[in-house]
C-alpha cells in the first residue's frame, strides 16, 4: 500500500515538476516576446503620438514597423495587445493584432502547439495566460494615464495551466516586466 502511494505521488510530482519548469521557460519567453514587440513601437512616429489606447488591460500603439512582414513600411500600423478567451482549452491568450489582423503563425492555429521560431515573427497568440495588467509611466518614471506622456509600460503577466493529474490544482506563475518605448526616447533626444 505504501509503495503504491509512493508510486502515485512520484508520478504526480514528476508531472507537476516538468509542467512547472516548462511554464517557467515559457513565461520567460513570453516576457521577452512582449518586450521585443514594444521595443519596435513608435518607429517613425512622434514621441507624443505613439500610444493610441492605454487601458489597464489593453494597449494599442503606433509604429511604421510591420511585424507581419518584418520590415519597415511607409505606412503607419496600429498594434493591439489584449487578453482574449482561448481558442482551445489551453486557457486565455494574449492576442496581438496589427491593424486589426491577428499576427499568426500557421503552426499556432493548426496544431495549437507552441513553436518557437524567433522573437520578431509569430507573435499571434501567447498561450496559457490568466491575466495581463498594464501600468504606464512617463519619462520621469511617474505613473501616468496621459497618452502623450507615456514612455514605458509595466506589465504584469499571469499564467495558468491545468496540471495533468489534478485539474483542480492548476499551475500558476507570474512575471512583471517593464518595457520602454525606446524609439520615443530616441525621438526626445534627437
Amino acid at each position: 500500500m505504501m509503495l503504491f502511494t509512493f508510486s502515485t505521488q512520484l508520478t504526480e510530482t514528476a508531472q507537476r515538476a516538468i509542467y512547472t519548469s516548462t511554464m517557467i521557460d515559457y513565461m520567460d519567453q513570453a516576457g521577452s516576446k512582449v518586450n521585443a514587440l514594444i521595443a519596435l513601437a513608435g518607429i517613425g512616429i512622434p514621441a507624443d503620438d505613439v500610444v493610441k489606447t492605454a487601458l489597464s488591460d489593453r494597449m494599442e500603439f503606433r509604429t511604421m514597423w510591420s511585424y507581419d512582414l518584418d520590415v519597415l513600411t511607409p505606412d503607419e500600423h496600429i498594434i493591439e495587445l489584449k487578453v482574449e478567451p482561448g481558442i482551445s482549452d489551453l486557457g486565455e491568450v494574449i492576442a496581438i493584432r496589427q491593424d486589426g489582423v491577428l499576427l499568426t503563425n500557421p503552426a499556432y492555429v493548426d496544431s495549437l502547439t507552441y513553436v518557437e521560431s524567433g522573437l520578431v515573427k509569430y507573435y499571434g497568440y501567447i498561450l496559457f495566460v490568466e491575466s495581463m495588467r498594464f501600468k504606464y509611466f512617463d519619462k520621469n518614471d511617474a505613473i501616468t494615464n496621459n497618452k502623450p506622456d507615456i514612455r514605458s509600460a509595466g506589465i504584469e503577466l499571469g499564467f495558468k495551466r491545468d496540471s495533468v493529474g489534478l485539474v483542480s490544482r492548476p499551475l500558476r506563475t507570474s512575471l512583471y516586466i517593464r518595457c520602454f518605448f525606446m524609439n520615443s526616447y530616441m525621438r526626445m533626444g534627437a
Binding site: M2, F6, Q9, L10, T13, A17, T20, S21, I24, M27, D28, G31, N35, S131, K139, D141, R151, S152, E156, G158, T173, S174, L175, Y176, I177, R178, F180, M182, Y185, M186, M188, G189
Partner: protein
Amino acid sequence: MNMMEMVLALFAVILFSSVALSYNQAIWRQTDYLFNAQLVVQCNHLCHEVLDEVDAKLFSKQLGFDNIISTYNNKTRSVTIASQSETYNLLIKAAVCDSFGVVMPADSLSLFRRVDVSVSGPPALKRPVNMYRLYTRTYM
C-alpha cells in the same frame, strides 16, 4: 506473532519510514529549485529594467554619459510585485571601466561605463542575481 516476526515488522516500518522521509526531502528540494528558477527569471527582468532605463535616458539625453556614475552608483530600489507577494531589493552600482568591463579607477579616462545590478530579497532565491551592461560614449 513471535519475536522474530515482530522484529522483521519493525525493520519494515523503519525501512519504509526512511524511504518516505528521503522521498519527501527530495520533493522539498525539487520545489525549492522550481521556486528559485521562477524567481531568477523575475530577477533577470528586473535587472534588464534598470539597464534599459539607463539606455532609454541616454537616448533621450535626460541622462548625460558623464552623469551615469553620479546618478546610479550605490543606489538601492525596492520593487514589490503584488501578484507574487514578493519584494525585491535592487542594488545598483556604476563605475568607469575598460572595453572588457574591467573596473578602472574613478578618475581614469575611458569611453566606457559599467552599470551593475544585483537583485535579492525573496527568501526562496538561493543567491542574488547579478547582471551588468557596458555603455559607450558615442558623441552622437
